[in-house]
Symmetry: C2
Subunit: 244 residues, 2 copies
Amino acid sequence: MPKAIFQTIYQDLKIKIEEQQYPFQQLLPSENALVEHYHCSRNTIRRAISMLAEEGYVQSMHGIGVRVIYQPVRQTSFTIGGIESFQESACRNGLTASTRVVQFTELVSDEHIAEKTGFPIGSELYYIQRVRYLNGKALIFDINMFLKACVPGLTPEIAAHSIYDYIENTLGMTIVTSKRIMTVERITQADEKYLDLNDFNCMAVVSGHTYNADGLMFEYTQSRHRPDFFCFQDTATRKQGYPK
Amino acid sequence: MPKAIFQTIYQDLKIKIEEQQYPFQQLLPSENALVEHYHCSRNTIRRAISMLAEEGYVQSMHGIGVRVIYQPVRQTSFTIGGIESFQESACRNGLTASTRVVQFTELVSDEHIAEKTGFPIGSELYYIQRVRYLNGKALIFDINMFLKACVPGLTPEIAAHSIYDYIENTLGMTIVTSKRIMTVERITQADEKYLDLNDFNCMAVVSGHTYNADGLMFEYTQSRHRPDFFCFQDTATRKQGYPK
DNA sequence: GCTATTGACTTGTTTAAACAAGTATGTTAT
DNA sequence: ATAACATACTTGTTTAAACAAGTCAATAGC
């Protein structure tokens, strides 16, 4: 439900670019032209455009215009982007997804856990292990740790469905920022035990720290993907005025 | 060299956060307080803050303030971020780097290459293979393809040093946007031939398309990393007003 | 024919103002 | 005591305006 004007314009432009009404390599209408079209101020247009630029849809050129650099990508594997739940990602990738909870316990953060996850020593946590199935194949092994105080009433049943759905819709908590680190690690015994591995000896691992609307880190997640079903997309823009 | 005011404020706040003058979990001074401090408008302050939020340094909370969520990260392996050359990354990670050019040829894009790289069929390209050494170990295998028309006069000597340095400082071209895809792939014969692999049967692969200031894609790169020396960091923020 | 300049575009930066909306802390009335 | 309200903060959105700076093409002057 985008209520803000800039959100509406952003979405509208985005769709038009994806549908190639504004084709690859062409210029968008000038900011002033868009101001007339959408009946808003130039600042609002610029905000929408800057969001598109961040996502690698367009690129502004001083004195020239705004060029479309979006090209449709064929999705072959399981693509990760933004802050999404497993359900959302699976849906976007057009795959049938299911989840099996293989461990659901509580524990208290000790020195070793604190070092690895960033939870202060003594924090009470839920510890969850889940196997994710895509089109029937066991491809992803998820380890989640939640601050118990932030996610009260979590059950294995909820974990089997969607924890994010529970957090956002039942608890009414908003997820805002997620910091993630991608690495490639050797397979573990748990990987071998639970997943359908094809003689791979490595896994694509996404480790993430998630913050709620209060700026409190309430989740640490490690998501271990079988290499041939893993894909992560990113767009980087060069900062102007780099040091030196 | 930040000339813009918002750049200066952004850098100043960033340093103060990194030095923990504004510690983790605390609130920044309010926007109005910062307006007084920096003698600028609120919009300019907000722009600096929004840049920090994008990088996962702070998180704004409506009606409350702006919370610092930056925590120093220990850099264990070779970290990739932003748009950086190999030289820049190596320097930031405190490693000694060297490069060996193992192939330097020209070729013309055919159907197969066009499909994989996005260069139009018939484009004249430089094709370069390089082995990257970190602290003396062969850990990264790079494949680069450059639009010959955009990077004239490229030589193996330049490739052994820094192509980005040549592009930006000698040719005066500006690199603006880079779209990257991270995957994990099985090792190839070239990986085995050139790199010091420790019985890994996978590589961390970063494939990237780079655009210059004209919005023209002029580079396709595939960078193949030995898993234990690969790390990619990312910060995602949840979009408000998500569809439905 | 060539160069220099002008002018009409484009995007980039900054300001000032107004109002909306969320949060916290009072005080008041019940 | 508690609920309701006022109010003084906070950040969020939008507008209008002015000027800077980059690009491009037509034009004027040589």
